[in-house]
């Protein structure tokens, strides 16, 4: 059974449809990455998978059952989402934040069970935040802060974790740090991870399954090696590029052509784009 599935899913903001009649399956125990241009609806799709957005039509199935028909607390025990750019209240400590991931497992009388404690300690360890547990979240660096939010999501103890652009606003070393952490979680605990990423090369490096969202639907999906090609980038991002191999991991790597930096095209192979570039060059010189 698939972890998540959409059936004839249509999402909209007001009158405008963002996603139309989409059938999509998210493989269990794998890392799935949504890619696509700004405003293509990949974040909207991710949010709807976590029931944060009601579909206009169609259904979302979690472990084969319609998510809208299940009690929200039950869903929260199986699926967690970390939205984009969450903000913690001033002065909230890392521990206080991570503890709140246990919300669906708690009740008024049961606020700190042994299981809660175990999961919170584990989440802090996994994100290397144990030493910072008593620090205020708003006093941490960007990377640490994002780790704290991920720790909260981990403490929730769900099999499936959704993350909306978990690496945005982080410098490159922190991006790698976060993605490594998620990759380890997937490898050691077989958690299903679904995330939106902007960096195509990192997406190809970490994803088992890539979903390219375009034009209210999915343009292509599958293993990065199979789906990542010049045509996909041209269609989905309206950009010319050359796909080569990552020299370290051998995953597909996308090198975009620049429109304004002339001259590079001459040595970059012989696609149609180069002819266009040459024309532009002539036009500029004329």
């Amino acid at each position: 059974m698939h972890a998540l599935e959409t059936r004839q899913l249509t999402l909209s903001y007001g009158e405008r449809n963002i996603i139309e009649s989409l059938d999509l399956t998210i493989p269990r125990g794998k890392i799935t990455v949504f890619i696509g241009s700004n405003g293509c609806g990949k974040s909207t799709l991710l949010r709807s998978l976590a029931r944060l957005l009601k579909p206009k039509e169609g259904a979302i199935l979690l472990d084969g059952e319609a998510i809208a028909k299940r009690p929200t607390k039950e869903v929260a025990k199986r699926l967690a989402i970390l939205p984009q750019g969450p903000v913690a209240p001033e002065g909230l400590t890392v521990l206080q934040l991570v503890k709140q991931g246990r919300y669906p497992h708690q009740s008024w009388l049961q606020q700190w069970s042994e299981e809660d404690e175990k999961m919170v300690v584990k989440a802090l360890e996994a994100t290397q935040l144990t030493a910072l547990a008593d620090r205020a979240v708003d006093s941490l660096s960007g990377g640490q802060r994002q780790r704290a939010w991920i720790a909260m999501t981990l403490a929730q103890g769900t099999e499936t974790i959704l993350l909306d652009e978990p690496t945005t606003y982080l410098d490159m070393s922190h991006q790698i740090e976060i993605l490594d952490l998620l990759y380890d979680l997937n490898q050691t605990e077989q958690r299903t991870i679904v995330m939106v990423l902007h960096d195509l090369n990192l997406a190809c490096r970490y994803a088992h399954h890539i979903v390219a969202v375009h034009n209210q639907s999915v343009f292509a999906e599958g293993n990065p090696h199979d789906v990542m090609n010049e045509e996909l980038v041209r269609h989905v991002f309206q950009m010319e590029c050359q796909i080569t191999r990552d020299p370290i991991y051998d995953t597909p790597m996308c090198i975009p052509f620049s429109k304004s930096r002339l001259g590079a095209g001459a040595t970059a192979g012989s696609s149609g784009a180069n002819a266009e570039k040459e024309e532009q060059k002539i036009a500029v010189h004329a």
């Binding site: 039950e74 209240p89 001033e90 002065g91 909230l92 206080q96 709140q100 919300y103 069970s113 929730q156």
Partner: protein, 345 residues
């Protein structure tokens, strides 16, 4: 988990995790409140030493002191504490739910709504029992709360815009109140104006008995929802993600907030800025976790009103200055400071 006290009574039946610092800071605030209350009971034209006040409190004082402390001064002190705690609780709830450091029922016009309802009640239903004043004030506060919600909160407004809309509502409310007073008989005008500036001058045991169950009950209700407030502080998406019923919880919390505001306003009038100040002080001391911040805010609110009322009573004798004047003198500059700090948000 140092700094926390883990309690798991009844094997697997229940479990709690208590922040040690919050406990002792709250106990200290409670003791300070009681101490100021005792001092305040002894102050006035006829001084009574704190020791004699304590004697009266445990039923061992002499006749004259007992009369003075129990009948004349205590209602005012008790009402002051209850009003302060109610306002602080309302402010703590609102700041948590709206996720806005500038939010408070008096700043957003919710107290104004309670005032309109209360003044209308005082003027038009003179013959109806005064017992109905808190529910009526609550009704006015609730109406404004949902007007505010409809106008401002739907699409997640910025802090400053919310305050602007709230200030607009507040001005409209005070205009309505002025109009009501203008068209009322002379005798009632004075009463209404004194009440409006935020004064607990001349309150009786009847007033204290009237609001006591509301204050205690509503604060307990809010405390029971602490987990839900905490999760709301992280935003709607996170709340939904962990399986909280965000919209329903918010509705109930805002109702509690309106009810607490109505309770305070029905007796004390509009005592400004306590609802803003007290939760801020509490959070500075122990952090934003609502389960700890609510009780501490309540004690700090009580303390602020007690101290402000003591100054109001003593500084300009024989003139009894309304307590709201003093809370505003401290609160208004603080509010301007908060506005300044949040100018770029």
């Amino acid at each position: 988990m140092k700094g926390y006290l883990t309690l798991r009574p009844g094997k697997r039946l229940s479990s709690f995790h208590l922040h040690r610092k919050s406990i002792w800071v709250t106990v200290a605030a409670a003791i300070a409140t009681l101490a100021v209350a005792v001092i305040s009971l002894g102050m006035g034209e006829m001084k009574v030493s704190p020791l004699d006040v304590l004697k009266v409190l445990i039923g061992m004082g002499d006749e004259q002191n007992t009369l003075l402390v129990q009948q004349f001064r205590m209602p005012r002190v008790v009402v002051g504490m209850l009003v302060g705690a109610s306002l602080a609780g309302a402010g703590a709830i609102m700041q948590g739910v709206v996720r806005n450091p500038l939010a408070a029922p008096d700043i957003l016009g919710v107290s104004g709504g309670a005032s309109v309802a209360a003044v209308a009640f005082l003027l038009f239903f003179e013959t109806v029992s005064i017992k109905w004043l808190p529910p009526v004030a609550f009704l006015g506060a609730t109406l404004i709360m949902f007007l505010l919600y409809a106008l401002a909160w739907k699409k997640g407004v910025t802090p400053l815009r919310l305050v602007l809309i709230g200030v607009g509502i507040k001005i409209a409310a005070s205009a309505v109140v002025t109009m009501l007073i203008m068209f009322s008989p002379f005798l009632l005008q004075n009463k209404a104006i004194l009440w409006l500036t935020g004064s607990i001058y001349g309150v009786s045991w009847a007033d204290a008995r009237m609001i006591l169950p509301w204050t205690i009950g509503l604060l307990l209700l809010a405390a029971l929802m602490a987990r839900r407030v905490n999760i709301q502080q992280l935003g709607d998406d996170i709340s939904m993600s962990v399986g909280s019923t965000v919209q329903r919880d918010r509705f109930f919390l805002l109702l509690i907030c309106a009810a607490l505001t109505g309770t305070a306003v029905s007796v004390g009038g509009e005592i400004g800025f306590v609802a803003l100040l007290a939760p801020h002080i509490a959070k500075q001391l122990i952090g934003p976790s609502f389960g700890s911040a609510l009780p501490l805010s309540a004690f700090i609110g009580a303390l602020i009103v007690l101290i402000a009322d003591l100054i109001a009573r003593m500084a300009f004798t024989p003139i009894d200055v309304p307590v709201g004047v003093f809370t505003s003198a401290v609160g208004a500059p603080f509010f301007i400071y908060l506005l300044y700090r949040n100018r770029n948000r």
